[in-house]
Amino acid sequence: MDPSKNDYHFSFFKPTTESARHNRNMVVQLVSIWAVAIFGFQIILKIIEKPVPEPALTLFESSWIAIEAGTPSAIDYQGAGQAVLSVLGKIAIKADDKLLLENALSTFAWQLSDQNDEFKSTVSAFEEIAASITDISDETYVTKKNELIPVLAGLFGLNELDVRSKIAPLEVKSSLMESFEDSGMDRMVETMGLYLTHNRSVLTDTKFLGFPFHYFYTAVFLLILFIGLCWLYCIRTDMFNKKYGIED
């Protein structure tokens, strides 16, 4: 249609020329693919996800029942301690949660040591050194830390080569061993659940090229798709322009 007959009124949805109609259809197709690929996938991810606990949470929950009831065995303290170390090893935790978990861990260690003052002094001595040094390669600091690792690993029933054994000396605090408030105990289950429960599904558990599939899709594939969509648009626009004799 001659646009002048329409007083040059036009819109994306009501194109006035054949080439504009082609362009509209192409844009609608590409935007639809784009939108479904981005948002559709995330919506599916959301719909099919289920909160799945880490094994450490299951271990903690089974140990915590006895601790909360006031009838814990050494195995309960060890299980809870291992689980708490699994959270403290994550690093990215809130400051007040970290304090709570260190408090719990120190209390467990104290109980597992049979409230041994010598153990507490050893931890305290290490803390003194840690507080005084400016370089973590300080020889005394490294020696004391390496002495404490097997002690704590033994208490918590961990292999010395377990990652958690390596971080334990930095998380057990002598000042937090003999105190654990009721409010802290009340927060434990919720706090552990927060850090040890994750949204998982078949899309997150399937591996593709080493990636969890959903991660590969979002971080790698979508970018390839975007380039592909842009490339397709340019190719088809060039073809249309040639077909309709449009000069840029």
């Binding site: 646009p3 040059y8 036009f10 819109s11 994306f12 006035t16 504009a20 192409m26 935007v31 784009w34 981005i38 995330q42 991810l45 959301k46 996800e49 880490e54 450490a56 601790i67 170390l85 699994s86 090893g89 690093i91 990215a92 109980q111 840690a130 400016t134 973590i136 390669s137 300080d138 990652v163 390596k166 971080i167 930095l170 998380e171 000042s175 937090l176 003999e178 105190s179 654990f180 949204n199 997150t204 090229l209 080493g210 990636f211 959903h214 991660y215 590969f216 979002t218 971080a219 790698v220 979508l222 970018l223 390839i224 975007f226 380039i227 842009c230 648009y233 340019c234 626009t237 060039d238």
Partner: protein, 556 residues
């Protein structure tokens, strides 16, 4: 168990926080090698800027329209790959895991919209600046002035994050305080922009792209090779790093892989790093979607990005330059998550201490025991990324002031020399304002930059989208839409600044969550578009000359 209250013990606890961590040793003092690399690159930039400097206003604003589509694609990529891409994206993923990928998707997916909805048409419209388009399309010098002011605000907002990145890298290289690093870095980038103008900037951008991408990729090849992953294509090889982080990595007894501080290359399971909207990150599904959407429409509304389409000779070149630009950008965006994944494992030991997230790219290379000169090159790449973007932003902002405000509205008889003078004065003023805000260190680089995207998405994007694709879009609709988008932006930014200043406004938590400063465009942009359409339909239609121009020049 004993439940005894021992407040004294708890009070004594903070003392232990002073225990040594490696964060300070990673920071270190003045680093000679990296400093030489950085200074050499900066001198190179200035020399290129001098050689290709702007000779008149046309050169200054639009680089003479003599850039090829591949060259323009590189310039788009360099212009785009800012400190937010180079440093900020890895920081977001390091801190918030999968949530950070919303930024990766948002900052690339927007180019699809930009291309198929705008690039060619903008070039065909044939203006110099975003405000030029708004003023002409909506036949209003007031809207032109408002468009120019918004363009300046967006440029300032965008630059703040960049200056933060420059500050962090100068701090790391020179071993000086953040404040001084921002001031020194800001002065250097200002000097270089003033000398070069946009022609120099475009040439520089091509060189900067090469430096940025090489400096970013070399350490990644080394890291993947050193820690025994598929190193030939680290953008794929790091997939196993992500999986290792999810399942946990035990200490390897046979290979003795360690970081530069001697800690084992090992970590407890951290599925929260990769699982979607993990409760431990405190981020939700809604926030993921809102960020991706806001960044995408913001991309299609950023004046300094739109302006790049004026520097290519033809509309076809504008279209193909987007494809090339996106490809060049994606090389970096495929790589950035790898730094975050390696950083997560390499910094897992508590002795490493709290690292500045925005410098995690550099810290990861350091912890990976990569040669200091290569780490220095990486830091210089970060500075280059920030420089290339800042120079484009300062040109866009100063163009908006000198061309759209001063020449088109205040003094139409101004000579080209006077316009150039005002453009340069505006550049200096903007740099000073940005430096002052950057010193406040409000948020992560990526988040600060995202504010500019939401602002652009709420204001400029609706004007371009409807202005190009609907002849019924008129001045009254544009004003109403702009007021709506501007109001949403104002509310969101006010709540953000109030929150940072320790003030609590009415419904603070509600507004801060649903209209957070990095994603308020999810609501503001659609609302502005709807209001724009309704008001346009209710008021006097667009003059026929403009409708005719759109049909005959832009869409034929």
């Amino acid at each position: 168990m004993k439940k005894i209250l021992l407040p004294a013990a708890l009070l004594a606890f903070p003392r232990l926080l002073h225990a040594a961590t490696a964060a300070t040793s990673l920071e270190g003092g003045f680093k000679v090698g990296p400093a030489i690399i950085l200074i050499t690159i900066l001198i190179l930039f200035v020399l290129v800027g001098i050689i290709f400097r702007a000779k008149d206003t046309t050169d200054f604003y639009a680089a003479g329209r003599g850039i090829s589509k591949v060259g323009s694609g590189m310039a788009i990529a360099s212009n785009w790959m800012s400190a937010a891409s180079f440093l900020g994206m890895a920081a977001l993923m390091y801190g918030s895991g999968y949530h950070g990928l919303a930024y990766v998707v948002g900052w690339t997916g927007g180019y699809v919209l930009l291309l198929i909805l705008m690039a060619g048409q903008i070039r065909k419209y044939g203006k110099y600046t975003a405000a030029d388009f708004i003023g002409d399309r909506y036949y209003s010098s007031t809207l032109r002035a408002v468009g120019a002011i918004i363009a300046i605000l967006i440029s300032i907002s965008y630059c703040v994050g960049q200056f933060g990145g420059i500050g962090l890298m100068f701090k790391w290289v020179l071993g000086i305080e953040y404040s001084w690093a921002v001031i020194i870095g800001g002065t250097v980038v200002l000097t270089y922009t003033l000398i070069s103008g946009m022609l120099g900037v475009t040439k520089n951008m091509q060189i900067q792209y090469v430096i940025i991408i090489i400096s970013f990729l070399i350490p990644l090849f080394i890291l993947t090779a050193k820690f025994d992953y598929f190193w030939l294509l680290p953008q794929i090889g790091y997939g196993s790093v992500v999986s290792d982080a999810i399942s946990g990595l035990p200490i390897n007894e046979t290979k003795a892989l360690v970081n530069s501080l001697g800690h084992d290359y090992a970590i407890v399971p951290v599925p929260e790093y990769a699982m979607p909207w993990d409760p431990a990150t405190g981020k939700s599904f809604f926030q993921w979607i809102a960020i991706a959407f806001s960044l995408m429409i913001g991309t299609a509304g950023l004046p300094h990005v739109i302006q790049r389409f004026y520097v290519v000779p033809k509309a076809r070149d504008a279209r193909w330059s987007v494809v090339w630009g996106l490809f060049f950008i994606s090389i970096l965006y495929w790589s950035a998550p790898a730094y975050a994944a390696f950083g997560k494992i390499l910094s897992a030991h508590p002795e490493v201490g709290a690292l500045a997230k925005d410098a995690i790219v550099v810290y990861t290379a350091q912890l990976g025991n990569i040669h200091p000169l290569i780490v220095g090159l990486l830091a210089a790449g970060g500075v280059s990324a920030a420089f290339s973007t800042v120079s484009g932003l300062l040109v866009a902002g100063s163009s908006a002031f000198a061309h759209d405000l001063y020449f088109k509205v205040i003094n139409p008889k101004a000579s080209p020399q006077k316009q150039l003078l005002y453009a340069r004065l505006a550049t200096i003023l903007m740099a000073i304002i940005v430096t002052l805000i950057a010193l406040k260190n409000f948020a992560l680089i990526g988040q600060l930059v995202a504010v500019a995207f939401s602002l652009a998405g709420c204001t400029i994007f609706p004007l371009f989208l409807l202005g190009i694709w609907w002849s019924g879009s008129n001045k009254a609709g544009a004003i109403a839409g702009l007021i709506t988008g501007g109001s949403v932006s104002l509310i969101a930014i006010t709540y953000f600044i109030a929150g940072k200043s320790g003030l609590t406004l009415p419904a603070h938590d509600f507004i801060s969550y649903w209209l957070e400063a990095w994603y308020f465009a999810w609501f503001g942009a659609p609302l502005a578009i709807i209001v724009h359409i309704i008001v346009s339909k209710m008021t006097k239609e667009t003059p026929i000359e403009i409708r005719k121009f759109l049909v005959e020049q832009v869409h034929s």
